[in-house]
């Protein structure tokens, strides 16, 4: 099999999560292990659960792009605007350098504008027609948020959405890597955006996977997931000496379980394959990985399967933790948000802990981090996300190019 030889610099990144607008509130929550899970305020549900909701007022979509107006698009706009607009400025700089047609957008999402579609169906139920404001292609369809960002930023390169449930935005970042490595684009804005909605809350409730209390991934008493929402955007650019001191995407691994639509393979074989491919592409041995940000959703089966995979791949142990007890499980945005968590770990020398962990499941026979740790030497980080349909993705980030 061919292997990419290029590692790709990440020149700007920011995230909006239940922790707040930007990387700083996320970092503070990660460092202190503060869970940002609370009862839902956005709309009424009949299910007792906590969520990672973005409670800040979101910015309004500009008049000329009103056809894209959804909670997802607003979360995307909030992500562009936070951190004093650092990602937006980086994109503007990239436009000057490469031209708008050389910059792509790849966004992972599992909800797209579902929140608005649900409201439109309430209207449809009463009036037998959809509201005037409902725009199927620009709000509901999978590509809507990627297209919104393309027009908001004045880009004219390729733009598409990846939607593979919980691995969506990890795979969007992998697609961005390929667009640059193949020479199709000079820069790609990649990431993920997902918004809370009734479909996912009632759906996961039907699957009996929602936790009533703030979730406790990896704990022996874990009871399921809490959903979250948010946006995370990363600007990837073609390798260049001017970006040598930026963190780099070193490797991506993708695989399919070929096993079950919702249950992971019990031994995590697909997860192992994804991690193995990512390591091979990065040219790294397991000993060279300093920290793994686990998928760690908090369901009994998911965590057990992933830890078997981790144990099989990292036989001599690795520092690992899960952060969905802080942000909630943001589904299609999880891969990108946790990529940013991985980048914060690299740039700040802080490995986050697992919020809510009282006692790790002894069945894992593996150490997982409860509290965060600060160290001077986080040089490489792996980030895992695995979705419905047995769709797996593992990404490796490094502090510098050329395998750290």
């Amino acid at each position: 099999m061919k292997q990419l030889s290029q590692s790709i610099p990440i020149t700007a990144y920011s995230a909006v999560t239940a922790c707040g607008l930007g990387n700083t509130p996320l970092y503070m929550a990660l460092e202190s292990g503060k869970n940002c899970l609370q009862p839902l305020e956005l709309f009424h549900i009949d299910i007792p659960t906590c969520v990672g909701e973005v409670r800040e007022v979101l910015p309004e979509i500009s008049e000329s792009l009103r056809r894209f107006d959804t909670r997802n698009a607003r979360l995307a706009l909030a992500t562009l605007n936070c951190e004093k607009g650092s990602v937006r400025h980086a994109v503007m700089h990239a436009i000057e350098q490469y031209g708008a047609d050389r910059i792509g957008v790849v966004i992972g999402t599992s909800t797209s504008g579902m929140y608005e579609t649900e409201l439109a169906y309430e209207y449809f139920r009463d009036k037998q027609h959809m509201p005037e404001s409902f725009d199927f292609l620009n709000q509901h369809a999978w590509g809507a948020t990627a297209d919104y960002l393309k027009y908001e930023l004045g880009l004219s390169g390729p733009a598409y959405a990846i939607s593979t449930a919980c691995s969506s935005s990890s795979k969007a970042i992998a697609s961005a890597q390929r667009l640059i490595a193949s020479g199709v684009c000079d820069a790609v804005l990649a990431g993920g955006v997902d918004s809370l909605c009734r479909l996912t809350l009632y759906g996961f409730s039907s699957l009996e996977l929602l936790s009533e209390k703030p979730c406790t991934p990896l704990d022996k008493n874990r009871q399921g997931i809490n959903l979250g929402e948010g946006g995370a955007l990363l600007l990837l650019e073609k390798p260049d000496s001017q970006h040598a001191d930026r963190p780099h995407l070193l490797g991506c691994g993708e695989s399919s379980d070929a096993y079950h639509m919702t249950a992971p393979h019990p031994d995590g074989l697909g997860a192992q394959q994804a991690m193995h491919i990512a390591l091979t592409q990065a040219g790294l041995s397991t000993k060279e990985i300093d920290y793994v940000n686990l998928h760690a959703t908090g369901t009994v089966m998911n965590d057990a399967s992933e830890m078997k995979a981790i144990k099989a791949i990292f036989q001599s142990g690795v520092k690992c933790s899960g952060t969905k007890g802080i942000t909630g499980h943001t589904l299609g945005a999880a891969g990108a948000i946790e990529s940013i968590i991985s980048l914060l770990a690299l740039e700040c020398g802080m490995m986050p802990g697992t919020a809510g962990l009282t006692e790790a499941d002894t069945a894992f026979q593996y150490d997982v981090m409860g509290a965060s740790e600060t160290t001077a030497s986080v040089r490489t980080v792996m980030s895992n996300n695995f979705g419905f349909g047995g769709n797996n993705a593992s990404l490796i980030f490094g502090q510098y190019a050329d395998n750290g």
Partner: protein
């Protein structure tokens, strides 16, 4: 960008529509699916899997041996409609099966399960540009990861409140793509910039563009420059004559 087309497969809900497009005997009854699985699946997933199976057979390639890219504007739109009606009617609990069959990678997930395919499976959507973005994603995979990739573009007819317009649907087109070769049917895709093109008002159909390219690959002597995106985006494909 250039790639070779090693195999083509199509599938249709209605046999009359298949014949109109010159693809007779292209139903959606994949041999990979048991009657029980067929009943559980949406037409979107059945269309995609059947076309994918046919493209692999046409290329004489094992269905378990290649990564896949599933491309659709709306994916599982009928299941989505049912669940949205349930939610609006407060008809709870939702069906857990319907819920997990509403994700965009439902077809990709079932494909990997029934073919025992453990390679990467991509599910993408890009509105009117879904077909060309699927081609671009596939080309990038061919340049960087793999020698062959299965690309499947599919669309089931949307139910009434979500109808997108007069676009072609209820069919799927799959192509088994390979690295470019002088000896195989090859296709070149490129973009011709359009200055000051506004957003188009007509919905442009990715799956009909895929059908047109499938026909052109079968009958390259009749083919010319084919649009593969809306005019505003200016993407075209041309079949390159092989030996």
């Amino acid at each position: 960008m250039r790639f070779s087309v090693l195999g083509v497969g199509t599938s249709f809900v209605e046999s009359a529509m298949a014949e109109t497009h010159g693809f007779a005997d292209c139903d959606m009854n994949s041999q990979l699916l048991s009657p029980r699985l067929r009943r559980r699946m949406s037409s979107a997933t059945r269309l995609a899997l059947t076309a994918g199976e046919r493209a692999c057979a046409d290329a004489n390639v094992d269905v378990s041996s290649v990564p896949s890219v599933f491309a659709s504007i709306a994916g599982e739109i009928k299941v989505t409609d049912t669940l949205c009606r349930n939610i609006a009617g407060r008809d709870f609990p939702l069906s857990p099966t319907q819920f997990h069959n509403s994700v965009h990678n439902t077809a990709a997930g079932y494909w990997s399960m029934v073919t025992k395919n453990k390679h990467a499976a991509q599910a993408l959507g890009a509105g009117e540009n879904t077909w060309v973005m699927g081609l671009l994603e596939s080309c990038c995979q061919l340049r960087s990861l793999t020698d062959k990739v299965l690309l499947i573009c599919y669309e089931e007819a949307a139910p009434e409140p979500l109808v997108m317009g007069e676009q072609i649907s209820d069919c799927a087109v799959a192509m088994l793509l390979g690295i470019p070769s002088d000896k195989k049917r090859s296709v070149c895709i490129y973009q011709q910039r359009v200055e000051h093109a506004g957003a188009s008002t007509e919905l442009w159909s990715p799956v009909s563009a895929a059908l047109a390219l499938a026909k052109a690959v079968r009958h390259p002597q009749n083919s010319s420059k084919l649009p593969i995106s809306s005019t505003a985006h200016g993407w075209y494909a041309e079949v390159v004559h092989g030996e």
